[in-house]
């Protein structure tokens, strides 16, 4: 779809998104405390940490679902006090969810098609007739969607209602839906949660391929440390909403605070 470099004029290595001193709390309960880190274009960035470390909240802040009480977010050079979901989406941030958030009533195809809504601007009038421009647009986007379906090897379930699919496949469809937005920054919330080894391997392969084929920057939360170490270029470690480490897998692996944090949790 798009080669690395992208329409935003950034080249691999530039800072795509920077979170600066962000704090978030719900009625006194602190979810995130003064966290800062950045995500560079073209990298796979992992956010790890024990349960309740505020990982998901972090993603929610990044794509504007939660609004931090303090701190700034710089995305593609523009600095904001908070993101707005629509802005985030229309500027190329897409994501998947911890527990699959697909549109249960729709087929795999429609789910991924729905992912392209932002890119479809055809007039309502033609929609009424499902002809002319509307149909042309529909077909053009169907092509793109089919590329994704092919890419994720889910041809066989193209027209199956997602509700009927096994969990592993649902996760894959959700990834497809996120890809349909042709994101510059892809947020994956525990893409391999509850998967067996084989499914995990597939998913890892897809993530790497996405990153390699489309040059998409990826930020992912994952519990399976092994997977994270293999996949990611750099890792942020959160604990109780605070950043305790940040760096390459090797640096993080050898970081005492991290080791403690992980020995601290149920192991």
């Amino acid at each position: 779809m798009r080669a690395p470099g992208g329409k935003d004029g950034l080249v691999a290595g530039d800072v795509l998104l920077a979170v600066d001193n962000v704090s978030l709390s719900f009625g006194g309960v602190k979810a995130i405390t003064e966290v800062s880190f950045d995500i560079r274009k073209g990298e796979i960035r992992a956010i790890i940490g024990p349960n309740g470390a505020g990982k998901t909240s972090m993603l929610n802040v990044i794509n504007g679902f939660y609004h931090p009480q303090q701190g700034r977010i710089t995305y593609k050079g523009a600095t904001r006090q908070k993101m707005r979901p629509y802005v985030a989406a229309s500027q190329g941030i897409s994501r998947t969810f911890q527990n699959v958030a697909l549109f249960k009533g729709m087929s795999t195809l429609d789910n991924i098609m729905a992912g392209r809504t932002l890119k479809m601007q055809g007039s309502f009038f033609w929609q009424l007739f499902r002809h002319g421009p509307a149909m042309r647009e529909e077909i053009e986007h169907r092509r793109k969607v089919e590329e994704i379906i092919d890419f994720l090897e889910i041809q066989a379930i193209r027209k199956t209602p997602v509700g009927k699919l096994p969990y592993g496949l649902q996760k894959r469809v959700e990834l497809g839906r996120a890809l349909a937005m042709e994101p510059d920054l892809l947020l994956l919330d525990e893409p391999m949660a509850g998967m067996n080894l084989e499914e995990k391997e597939d998913m890892s392969r897809f993530i790497l391929d996405v990153n390699n084929q489309y040059g998409t920057t990826i930020a992912l939360i994952e519990h399976d440390i092994g997977v994270v170490m293999d996949l990611s270029d750099r890792i942020v470690v959160l604990e109780y909403g605070r950043k305790i480490a940040d760096g390459t897998p090797d640096q993080v692996k050898s970081d005492q605070k991290v080791i403690d944090a992980y020995l601290g949790v149920s192991h």
């Binding site: 195809l109 169907r142 590329e147 379906i149 092919d150 041809q155 390699n212 084929q213």
Partner: protein
């Protein structure tokens, strides 16, 4: 005489040219890709292949050089063959699922200069063995996915080659002319393709077939069933297998019909249904699976529907085949059958994707008679043929109206067949291969100076002049009294019963035949449930007297059917036992392709074999087994043995044997 007719368009490239001229706008090939059936007309294919050829020429592919084709059935791989042939080069399709080691041998032996492959997986495989095939200059791939970062000095995306070739042809008339010249230069006698026979026995051998070999056979095949440009067929069998080369490549070119490539190997069934093939080929197991699936599903259907279903199946059993064979059937039966067509047969064929079927073939191994009849009774013109790579497929075929479950038909057009005194089938035809590539002594062993080929199969012509294959020639033994003992033939007769999963027959050098039997757990299990028989384990079920009774009945039927066959009557089963465990590839009792290893089993279960012949009513056996998790264990059992009645051997084959 077909050979005469073939002088004008006697090579694949010429035929492609002809099709582009005569039926340029008709679909030549489809591929379910990106959700729809992408279609190319003959004219388009012609253009693309020429462009491809031009590009291959630029990559330095010389006449007489070989190019490997590795992957599943996809248009661009078929085009790779065509493009190579346009340059007078020889395509060598390879089984894409073969392991690197095996592939390395074949590619090295064929000394391929180029390889056209499907995707990253195959590219990796080739790169991993690249030092074994030093002469491999370039690898061309169809699917770019994952190959972006590979070093592209020797890698080429076929898509781009096509574009580049088209550019060359446009820019440089000389190149176009040269290409035309090389196409025109091709002759029927030229080597067209090298097909490696899968190495179940020893090293794979490269069967060299000329254009004439393939095309004459293909023509005869088309003529035999009056195939024309309106056929639709699904290409899903390995490219390296001669069948696919004939059915999906040669015959498509000869008759000008459209070949459809499935979306992926696991969507073949749906894709077949969507296309609604008119000309189909499948090994027996495919039909078997369809039938089992049908019956299993109908078990869960509502009682009324189920009764209706079976009622009409009986009707079909009674009158279906006669109607198909155009024999006279009473009006009421015709009406009933018509009703059945509306209620059952039509829908079934629709589910199978056979609604529009003109003729369907099965071959490779024996097909169960009731399976065979089931499909025919639905009005599907299912036929058997007997073929070999060395014969460019056709040796014998079943002409309409003479279809039988238990024979493989009469010699195909232009094919001579005779039975050697050791019972081996030999044939001679225009389709007979030239030689095994770089293997003169193997060639000498197989092909006589005057062009007769040893099929390696034992068989005989029955009273009606139809050929029956009984076994691999080398496996056919003789019993003390000198009568033939074809183990596989007996075993297959047994295995036709769904209750019997495997059978191992003994008798070579003995004075009677006896056998081991493996019951089919699912089938017998269901049966047991229905009859309220409780069992805790396979072993217990296998030992159950009622199960023995049931199997004994099957054996008895087998004996009767053997008795009426003059040459086989001697091989009736005297004693049998039901093994206490399933034969298992993990224990080396079966080959990985699920064929029984008779010798190994004979010694592993020696006590049982002796017991079979010393007349004892039962025997003890301890066997070491390997469980799924790889642990070893020992199973001990006392196995009962049953005696069976045998029947006097009849003289010539009576009419009741006719399935048709």
């Amino acid at each position: 005489m077909a050979a005469a007719a073939s002088t004008r368009d006697d090579t694949f490239p010429k035929l492609l040219g002809r099709n582009a001229r005569d039926r340029g706008a008709r679909p030549a090939i489809r591929h379910k890709d990106f959700g729809i059936w992408q279609t190319w007309t003959w004219a388009e294919v012609h253009g693309l292949c020429r462009a491809y050829a031009a590009a291959l020429h630029e990559l330095g592919l010389q006449p007489g050089e070989t190019i490997a084709i590795v992957g599943t059935n996809r248009p661009r791989l078929y085009w790779s063959m065509m493009a190579a042939q346009m340059l007078g080069a020889i395509p060598v399709p390879v089984y894409s699922d073969s392991v690197a080691e095996e592939m390395a041998y074949v590619l090295a032996h064929a000394d391929v200069k180029l390889a056209a492959v499907e995707d990253q997986e195959q590219v990796d495989k080739l790169l991993s063995i690249s030092e074994r095939i030093p002469n491999l200059r370039h690898i061309l791939y169809d699917e770019e996915r994952g190959l972006r970062d590979y070093d592209h000095t020797r890698l080429h995306h076929i898509e781009r080659l096509l574009a580049r070739g088209a550019e060359t042809l446009r820019a440089d008339p000389a190149a176009a002319a040269a290409l035309d010249a090389s196409i025109a230069a091709g002759k029927g006698a030229d080597l067209g393709v090298i097909l490696y026979t899968s190495g179940t026995t020893g090293r794979p051998k490269g069967v060299m077939l000329t254009y004439d070999n393939v095309l004459i056979s293909a023509r005869n095949g088309c003529a035999f069933d009056r195939l024309d440009e309106t056929e639709e067929t699904i290409a899903y069998l390995p490219l390296a297998w001669v069948g696919d080369h004939i059915f999906s490549y040669a015959q498509s070119l000869v008759a000008g019909f459209c070949v459809n490539c499935p979306e992926s190997p696991d969507t073949v069934v749906e894709d077949r249904r969507e296309i609604g093939t008119t000309y189909a080929f499948a090994p027996p197991r495919v039909y078997e699976n369809l039938l089992t699936l049908t019956m299993v599903r109908m078990e869960d259907a509502a009682p009324l529907k189920r009764r209706m279903f079976h009622y009409f199946l009986d009707v079909a059993k009674r009158v279906g085949e006669p109607i198909l064979n155009g024999e006279s059937v009473s009006l009421t039966d015709r009406l009933l059958y018509g009703l059945g067509e509306a209620l059952v047969y039509g829908p079934l064929k629709n589910r199978f994707g056979f609604s529009r079927i003109k003729v369907a073939y099965t071959a490779g191994e024996a097909i169960g008679p009731e399976i065979f009849r089931f499909f025919r009774s639905l009005g599907i013109n299912l036929k058997q043929l007997y073929g070999q790579t060395e014969a460019a497929v056709y040796v014998t075929m079943q002409p309409d109206g003479e279809i039988r479950a238990d024979t493989v038909g009469r010699p195909a057009p232009e094919v001579e067949v005779r039975i050697a005194d050791n019972g081996e089938v030999m044939f001679r035809s225009p389709g007979v291969f030239q030689a095994y590539y770089k293997d003169p002594e193997a060639t000498a062993k197989t092909k006589t100076a005057d062009g007769w080929v040893h099929s390696g199969d034992a068989g005989f012509f029955d009273a009606t002049g139809h050929l029956k294959i009984i076994d691999r020639a080398k496996d056919v033994g003789k019993m003390r009294d000198g009568s033939l003992f074809p183990p596989k033939y007996v075993e297959n007769k047994l295995k036709f019963y769904s209750n019997i999963k495997e059978a191992v027959a003994f008798g070579d050098g003995q004075d009677s035949v006896s056998c081991f039997i493996n019951i089919d757990l699912t089938a017998v299990g269901n049966w047991a449930e229905r009859n309220g028989i409780v069992y805790a384990s396979y072993q217990e079920l296998a030992g159950h007297p009622q199960v023995y009774d049931m199997i004994a009945r099957h054996v008895d039927e087998v004996n009767r059917s053997l008795a009426v066959e003059p040459m086989m009557g001697g091989a009736q089963i005297k004693r049998f036992l039901i093994l206490h465990k399933e034969l298992d590839a993990d224990d080396g009792e079966l080959t990985r392709t699920q064929k029984v290893r008779r010798g190994f089993i004979a010694e592993r279960y020696a006590p049982l074999v002796t017991a079979l012949y010393d007349g004892s009513p039962e025997a003890d056996i301890r066997t070491e087994v390997t469980f799924e998790d790889g642990r070893k264990g020992v199973i001990a059992a006392r196995v009962k043995i049953r005696d069976c009645a045998t029947y006097p051997v009849a003289a010539p084959a009576p009419a009741m044997e006719n399935a048709a």
